[in-house]
């Protein structure tokens, strides 16, 4: 297995606060990778740097062996990293199907002229977009809701829609920012099934999660961040028993 995502020496500070210092992360193709850490550890900052929302002070980024500069969000997405948001962000006034069709934007070419004239190639592409979008809705199990307005969906379905929209971009890496946030136990189980299905279909996932149980059960490898630094890296059972991790999660009182 080769490294799909290789990130080295990422630092980011806000004013005098070192939000990230010298963070390394290597994700191999086909892995489900977990990035965990207590509140304020820098998970979200790292995610935002990696996806181009924040500019890193230092760091090297490579996706599938090609260096990429996370200088703008849409370029990172075009390079092949699709993301979901911690607080679900859909295109509310659009239908469920249209939401996923927007995900096809980066894989299609129809422009203004194609829209106006609707020549043969444009019609074929539009039909393909619709068909593929419907495929991804079926894939995440909400195919029958295609014509509904996105914001009329239940919370769990909205999360699935967000994942379908990200998958529609045909990403090399699917990055999920706290996908289980706000879910009840039953919804978490269903989410876990879906993520396993996505992994079994050969996709690479990066999971930023608060829910340690979900991460431990699902991930092949885990990196733990605390105070902007990597404090542990390895397989779930190694990380779980790592004293530094236990201390970070339970607080310094354990030893002191």
């Amino acid at each position: 297995m080769s490294a799909l995502l290789q990130i080295e020496g990422v630092s980011k500070h806000f004013g005098g606060v070192n939000a990230l210092s010298e963070v390394n992360l290597t994700i191999k193709a086909g892995q489900v990778y977990g990035l965990i850490g207590p509140n304020g550890a820098g998970k979200t900052t790292f995610f935002n740097v990696m996806t181009g929302l924040y500019r890193a002070d230092a760091g090297r980024f490579a996706l599938a062996g090609t260096p990429y500069e996370p200088s703008s969000v849409h370029k990172v997405a075009q390079a092949g990293i699709a993301r979901t948001f911690q607080n679900i962000r859909l295109f509310n006034a659009m239908t469920v199907l249209e939401n996923v069709m927007v995900g096809r934007h980066v894989r299609t070419r129809n422009g203004v002229w194609a829209a106006l004239v609707r020549h043969r190639r444009a019609r074929v592409e539009e039909a393909d977009t619709r068909r593929i979008a419907q495929h991804w809705l079926d894939y995440v199990g909400i195919g029958e809701l295609a014509e509904r307005r996105a914001d009329t969906l239940s919370y769990g379905h909205q999360r699935r829609l967000e994942i379908a929209r990200a998958l529609a971009t045909e990403p090399k890496l699917l990055a999920l920012d706290e996908p289980a946030a706000g879910m009840n136990a039953a919804e978490k189980l269903q989410l876990r099934d879906l993520l396993e299905k996505i992994r079994n279909d050969g996709r690479t996932l990066l999971l930023i999660e608060h829910d340690v149980k979900l991460v431990m059960g699902l991930c092949d490898r885990i990196t733990v961040l605390d105070h902007g630094q990597v404090i542990a890296e390895g397989a779930p059972h190694d990380v779980r028993s790592n004293p530094a991790v236990i201390e970070a999660y339970l607080g310094g009182g354990v030893h002191g």
Binding site: T51, L53, S72, V73, H74, A77, Q78, A82, R83, F85, R89, L90, F91, N92, A93, M94, T95, E98, M101, V102, G103, R104, H105, V106, T108, N110, G111, V112, A114, A115, L116, R118, E125, E126, T129, E147, R149, D151, T152, R165, A166, T169
Partner: protein, 366 residues
């Protein structure tokens, strides 16, 4: 199966609606002409110009969600372009030009209209480029400033070189000549006497239809979906790989080009342009049409234009006689009542139908 039924019923309804709309469009000037003479047909001509403007603004505000308070600037750009290219003004200012063009400057409408669209699109991008990073209120203020800058430029560009003739404006703009027919004169067509306002009506209707067609096609396309996505959540749109800067510029350019076409027609129709026609009030009026009709919904926007263009004239014409009938005399100036009702209508619609008189069905489902 259930999907195909769900798909055909709305299209059939839309077809019937389209036929009715075409009939209304065809017959409207004759009905209005019967009711209120040429003045009312003229009002319809203006309603059509407003439809072009509002559909242009609808792309920027309704689809891409960019609040533009200076949209009338693009109308001004189109109007001044037409005025400069088909009036004696430039020739009297620059004798060298007059010597080169002994027959005067009479540019064909076939050149003026596309050129006005292109130039306005250029101005749209000029406005768009520096504002791409701005959102919401901030964008609204910048566009407001842009609208005023254009108007003030037109007002003051009479020295050192007299280009726009300042506040006096440019007069004797050529009327539109189409296939050798002068639209400013009453024409005999198959024995019918068709006055000028009717001829302009049908020309404007054809162009408004073209713009409607373009809007419908754009709305149901990859580009239209991308605009809506930006309107709904710009960050999420970027995360899906949409180049939001480029797409916003595109919305500005296309919206502005419709405004420019409307402006060129307006100048030729009026035969006269002056900075006063392009005040902030006009920008607000066009925005009111879009919002009151139903932002992002083409039939709604058109309805908004017809209502807001016709309402003041209808009130002006009727309020005097209504008072006469109710009280035996005219107590309040009809002009004042007209403004009162106009404002009242806006308030009531926004209170009771915040998504507009005729919103898109998706919005109504909220």
């Amino acid at each position: 199966m259930s999907l195909s039924i769900a798909m055909t019923q709305p299209t059939q309804r839309a077809r019937i609606g389209l036929v009715l709309f075409a009939l209304a469009l065809l017959l409207a000037p004759w009905i209005a002409g019967q009711a209120g003479g040429n003045a009312w047909v003229r009002m319809l001509d203006f309603a059509l110009l407003y439809i072009m403007l509002a559909l242009g603004l609808n792309i920027v505000v309704g689809y891409a969600g960019l609040l533009d308070l200076g949209f009338i600037a693009f109308y001004a750009v189109g109007a001044y372009l037409a005025a400069l290219l088909s009036s004696p003004h430039l020739l009297t200012q620059f004798p060298a030009l007059a010597a080169a063009l002994p027959h005067g400057l009479h540019t064909s409408i076939w050149i003026i209209v596309p050129l006005a669209g292109l130039l306005a699109a250029g101005f749209g991008m000029l406005l768009g480029a520096p504002t791409l990073g701005l959102r919401g209120d901030y964008l609204a203020i910048v566009t407001l400033g842009f609208g005023e800058i254009i108007r003030i430029f037109m007002r003051n560009l009479d020295r050192p070189l007299n280009i726009t003739n300042g506040p006096k404006g440019i007069s004797s703009v050529d009327p539109i000549q189409l296939f050798g027919v002068n639209l400013a004169r009453t024409q005999d067509i198959f024995g019918f006497r068709v006055p000028s306002v009717y001829l302009y009506y049908y020309l404007f209707a054809v162009l408004a239809l073209l713009i409607m067609f373009a809007c419908v096609r754009l709305q149901d396309s990859r580009i239209g979906r991308a605009w809506l996505a930006i309107r709904e959540d710009e960050d999420a749109a970027q995360a899906m790989g949409l180049n939001t800067r480029r797409l916003k510029l595109l919305a500005f350019a296309i919206g502005a080009s419709f405004g420019g076409v409307g402006g060129a027609l307006f100048a030729s129709f009026q035969g006269f342009v002056s900075p006063e026609s392009f005040s902030l009030n006009e920008s607000v009026a066009v925005l009111a049409m879009v919002v009151l009709g139903g932002m992002g919904h083409i039939p709604g926007v058109i309805l908004g234009c017809v209502l807001l263009a016709a309402l003041p004239e209808v009130l002006r014409a009727t309020m005097g006689s209504v008072q006469q009938w109710l009280f035996g005399q005219v107590l309040v100036d009809p002009e004042i009542i007209r403004q009162l009702f106009y404002g009242l209508a806006l308030i009531l619609v926004m209170l009771y139908r915040p998504a507009g008189v005729w919103p898109a069905s998706r919005e109504a489902a909220r």
